[in-house]
Amino acid sequence: MKLSDEEQAMLNGELGEPRRWAIEHMMRVGRFFDAEEFVEVTQAHIMADTESLGEAGIEFLEDIAARPLNERQVRIPMITDPRGIDFCHYKRLKQTDLMASLEQRAIDAFEAMGILMTNTCINYQTIMPPVRGEHLAFGDTGVVIYCNSVLGAYSNFEGGPSSLAAGLTGRTPRYGLHLDQNRKATRRFRVDWEPEHLSDWGALGGIIGARSGSYWEVPVIEGISAKPGSDQMKHMGAAMASFGSIPLFHLVGVTPEAPSLEAVCEPDQIAAEVISEIDRDAFFARFGGKGEKVDVVVFSAPQLSLLEMQSLAELLDERKLHPDTSLLAVTSPVVAADARRMGLVERIESSGALVLEGMCFYQSYAREMAEANGWKRLMTNSVKLANIIGGYGYEPTLSNMENCVASAIAGEIV
């Protein structure tokens, strides 16, 4: 890779060991993906929940945090993805003090590096939405696909170590979606039904993700006349990234790089694949459970927006959950504070539900929570969560928010 004088100085260790590690790490990744140079980035966002960090990852962070101030501080604004713990509620979820202490150690290390603890995967809705053409180093696949697709920003999926390296240096290797030639559509999907609920948008994303199936494919979607809002795009993108590792999609007439089909591909070069109502129904049917007892209903992954919190409050008003069913609504600290001020949290929790903030259900020791709480059948409107949570020993059921709430009240899947 071609290095600038400053990058060479970092590699020589002249700006401290953390920046030397960071440049070297990114050069290894850059070589893997044939990057010829670095590109400057304006923001970094790091996923570093303690479940994935483990003791080894925390020690890695603490080593950097113990360095002198001028060596350990990040050089660009850097924020965090959800944590594994909501310190106000972890005991009620039967998470352990050990989990909380690991979490605190990670937080202390991040703060020593000058990282802002936003604890959110909806930073594009709540913190600082990127602008078109902005180069970023964002973690969380849902964040990256949204910012690339809906906002026209440029980011690869940056795992925690690479996000941190970008934060410490203000750079990332220029490969993948930082290059315009990799942003053209390679797959074309025509949808012949109209998504209605957020879970429908998620299902559409899941179907496209599963069919595309690789980080290096860029789907373009046509045929939808409904105009999605931010939450619809959020659910579709998160599901597409979860099912297919997809970092960018185009929706003709909606996303900024695709004012027309011709803007993102040569239509006669790629045949359109139809996604029918039968495909949609088959997708939902993968997740069974009708009539069964439901242990826990979870709204999470991505964290709920303020508008989703309002929808949930309206559905739960004057109603009580079944005594054997838990309902968890997971949101960001910013949304939680607003929702509390506006009375939404009280309306949700008076049903017996629990609002959690700054965490994400599936990266919160979901397996241990299942065992400690006796949870098996989980219901959600999040296609992403339904996809992931089977790996943690749950049996997921997928439906829209209305049915999820009705099931939590009935105690069985309606």
């Binding site: 290894r28 893997f32 999926f157 590792s245 790996g391």
Partner: protein
């Protein structure tokens, strides 16, 4: 002995027994990392151990956290020796770079999940992009 050329990868030279599937991979979605087995019931390797294997998959799926997980798995010694893909996503490559775990993809001779069979003895040399198979 069969030699397979691939793109330059990351990590050290390693040898071991291959475990191959045409399925995809995510450390977050598919594994019980404490037990060292594939745990997602739908995964084609469900129930099998990945410990010290040379794993071969089609591609990597979502899950940014996998970047930390390879490092964490390796620190406990409950990890694959190497992971080979037809095409990997950046997250797993970044994770292998942190963990110093051998990883390669983009094989010249086509589908690596067909070129290597479970049980093959395999040597991976990421620095030069070469995988060698010894079959009994």
């Amino acid at each position: 002995m069969v030699e397979l050329k691939c793109h330059v990868g990351v990590g050290p030279v390693v040898s071991g027994e291959a475990l191959v599937t045409d399925d995809n991979f995510s450390a977050r979605y598919d594994l019980d990392r404490t037990a060292g087995i594939f745990s997602r019931p739908q995964h084609k390797l469900a129930g099998q151990s990945y410990v010290d294997r040379i794993m071969v998959f089609n591609t990597a799926k979502g899950g940014v956290a996998s970047a930390w997980m390879l490092h964490e798995m390796k620190s406990r010694g409950i990890a694959p020796k190497a992971i080979l893909f037809n095409n990997v996503n950046p997250i797993l490559a970044q994770g292998a770079a942190l963990a110093d775990m051998a990883m390669c993809d983009r094989f010249d001779d086509g589908d690596v999940t067909r070129l290597i069979r479970s049980g093959d003895q395999v040597t991976v040399n990421p620095e030069i992009g070469l995988v060698t198979i010894t079959r009994a």
